[in-house]
Point group: C2
Chain length 301, copies 2
């Protein structure tokens, strides 16, 4: 029998709603190659997932069967194959769902998301970042804040996810600054940091005023010529302030770590710091890859 | 000199962002004809306003010069001609801004909007409805709630607008139910009334939870199969509850009247009734026409 060949020992895949990212991995966990494209779940019919993936990773395949570990919306009901939610409290990684493929060169596995039934909530993708975070910080006891389109607040204890909460802050900011009357005022490149911090703290102490504060951004722009960078900071501050108000039972008096995009981590770290909280900071992408590697280790015999 | 002719003694126009509505009026205030089209302000360049209006009202014109009274976004900076905001406290109607026209058959007037400088706010169009309401209820002392895309809460005393506040409830509902992840859950024809009332009251008593409650609509739909009519009611209830929390200084212990679209009036009346408030109900369109008629009376010698 001749030796089997392949460029990647295994392939890590983060397949979300809008994007597909893949890494060619060595057995010991180093990244040999990586790529990203816009073939996200939302643009694909069920039968298109396998050919899309093969087209993208084909240069990394050889004659040996290559294991693939994927996380994200690819495992949702509208994805390639549903990997049913596991219930919290639980560890972030459970049994991998094997997915049948027509191409014999790959053995495909999708990580399941998590659900919470008592206060209904779901996550898909963040559980992998949590696994990555816990691989690095196995004794962490406290709360992860994972800022993004749908920010997750996750209570971790004894290597398990105890409970979590989702706040749509990123999505609210995007639709308000693109589709509402506030778009005329909040289009800007940067944001005014002191206006952001001030608005977060004001909203946190008086969350009941939120609904009226939103339109004041527009009115201040019209009547006082408020700068767009300030208006954008106020919009962001109102939404992050409302988020901190809703998530207070999660962060108050807690040990806290941020896992997200560096730009969002920075913003949330400043907002939390103004409430007297120093959060450790971890980049979300790094945690995703570490989580996929942890899942691969559990798969290996 | 031969007698001058015209079908309308004057013409009332409500020219908003999306629509143009016009009424052919008799001297004594009866409606002889009316029309509505989608030639709203947002689709027109400055030089297109006059020809657009003429095309629409031409059948109502004769040889006499016809006065036209218009309200709404047509008087904004992006409209036909800016009718600068008047400052509260003030009566709803001030001097009409005459607008020069090339067509000699019309004499055009636009009603100015109102601004509030201490707590920045603006309105354009609602001041005309308030004038209509006060024409019918000259001794009203209390608060008008004017539900719509941008709901206004208006404190009225001694025939003057004392102060007002804007809450973007209608716009938030529209963009969340069309552009956010909640669209999958909240697409429905009707709404579940008891879920609406329950959510309004819960949000009003705990407004700090708002940001986390929004995503729970999606999670409940995914995990528990919540009906879309219930999800839609919860979304509406969260936003109206947040609005009532922000507007509490306006309505608490006040004499209150609703001025809006009958469907919204009905929803808000139920939400207010659950807080022990009985609001008188007036249809917004009727108040607009009465307000334009009151402005015409002030114009007439």
């Amino acid at each position: 029998m001749s030796a089997e060949t392949s460029y990647a020992d295994w392939i890590a895949v983060d397949w979300g709603t809008s994007n597909l990212r893949a890494w060619a991995m060595s057995e010991c966990g180093t990244v040999k190659d990586k790529l990203e494209c816009d073939k996200g779940m939302s643009g694909l019919a069920q039968h298109e997932f396998e050919p899309t993936l093969i087209r993208v990773i084909e240069p990394w395949l050889g004659t040996a069967k290559t294991p693939i570990i994927a996380c994200g919306m690819v495992g949702s009901r509208q994805g390639w194959a549903e990997a049913p939610y596991r219930s919290v409290p639980t560890t972030p990684l459970g049994d991998l769902s094997p997915v049948a493929t027509t191409d014999a060169r790959i053995s495909m596995h999708i990580l399941p998301g998590l659900k919470q039934t008592d206060s209904p909530n779901v996550m898909r993708g963040e559980e992998t970042q949590i696994a990555g975070f816990l691989a690095d910080n196995p004794d962490f006891d406290g709360v992860l804040c994972m800022p993004g389109t749908h920010t997750k607040w996750v209570h971790i204890s004894a290597k398990e996810i105890v409970s979590f909460q989702t706040v749509m802050t990123g999505e609210l900011f995007a639709i308000l600054s693109k589709h509402s009357v506030l778009r005329h005022s909040a289009e800007a490149e940067g944001i005014d940091e002191s206006a952001f911090i001030e608005t977060v703290s004001a909203t946190l102490s008086r969350p009941e005023t939120l609904a009226a504060q939103l339109f004041q951004i527009r009115a201040s722009h019209l009547l006082e010529g408020t700068e767009n960078a300030t208006s954008r900071a106020k919009l962001s501050g109102l939404l992050v302030g409302a988020e901190l108000a809703a998530a207070k039972p999660y962060w108050l008096g807690q040990n806290i770590a941020l896992v997200g995009h560096p730009r969002l981590n920075d913003l949330y770290a400043k907002a939390l710091s103004a409430q007297g909280l120093d959060a450790a900071v971890h980049t979300g992408d790094d945690m995703t890859l570490k989580g996929l590697a942890a899942a691969y280790k559990e798969l290996a015999p």
